[in-house]
């Protein structure tokens, strides 16, 4: 699946398989991982991601279509995990396979920036210490 919202762990190896294809010389993949950011309530121990599912999937598909058209991306993955994630786990994978490397980089960058700015997904932090913080 090109776009995914899933509560199962994300795998970059799976993403690479989804990005295979003849003639695709450049594959760029971005993976976001949960960071143990310091903060007033102590370091983050986990994040909870939730999504407004139907609009989020529509928006992910729209981003994918634009990446295909604008960057000649022949294979795209745009996967986001939801639910509870521990520090170090992968929250998002954005990847593109193109005939050439410059467009693969541009496409992957576009995918992740657009996802962050426009897809109805939220994270809330769980910190060691005072419990919850948005």
């Amino acid at each position: 699946m090109t776009v995914r919202l899933t509560d199962r762990p994300l795998s970059v190896a799976d993403a690479m398989r989804a990005l295979e294809g003849r003639g695709l010389g450049g594959v760029a993949v971005f993976a976001g991982r949960v960071r143990p950011d310091p903060g007033p309530g102590g370091p983050v121990s986990a994040l909870h991601y939730d999504a407004h599912r139907a609009p989020a999937l529509r928006r992910l598909r729209a981003i994918e279509r634009t990446a295909r058209r604008r960057f000649d991306a022949r294979r795209v993955v745009l996967w986001h995990r939801v639910g509870r994630l521990r520090v170090g786990e992968i929250s998002v994978i954005a990847g593109a396979a193109c005939p050439h490397r410059a467009s693969a980089f541009a496409a992957a960058r576009y995918l992740i920036e657009e996802l962050k700015a426009t897809v109805p997904i939220w994270k809330t932090e769980r910190r060691r210490g005072s419990g919850r913080r948005a």
């Binding site: 976001g32 991601y49 939730d50 999504a51 407004h52 139907a54 609009p55 529509r58 986001h80 929250s91 998002v92 992740i112 996802l115 962050k116 700015a117 426009t118 897809v119 109805p120 997904i121 939220w122 994270k123 809330t124 919850r132 948005a134």
Partner: protein
């Protein structure tokens, strides 16, 4: 979704502040505008105020450009705080 009600969905910081993911809202005989739901949420969940101020609102999957929009029984009305995916 029963007739006579709107389902209000709360996400991310809104869910955290209200302590719940959804609220069922009765549509009174005189009808219901989006701004009335927002005012009602603000009154019922005081910690939700700042989040409501920075949120956008979505009716049946479409962003609302104005909160004077009328909601109909069966509608899904969602509070979208600033997005935080990635």
């Amino acid at each position: 979704m029963p007739e006579g009600r709107v389902t209000v969905l709360l996400f991310g910081p809104a869910r955290e502040a209200a302590g719940r993911t959804s609220v069922v809202w009765e549509v009174p005989a005189g009808g219901l505008r989006a701004e009335e739901v927002v005012a009602g949420l603000r009154a019922r969940y005081p910690r939700l105020g700042p989040t409501l101020d920075s949120s956008r609102y979505v009716r049946n999957g479409r962003y609302l450009s104005t909160l004077t929009t009328r909601l109909r029984p069966g509608d899904e009305f969602a509070v979208h705080p600033p997005y935080g995916g990635g």
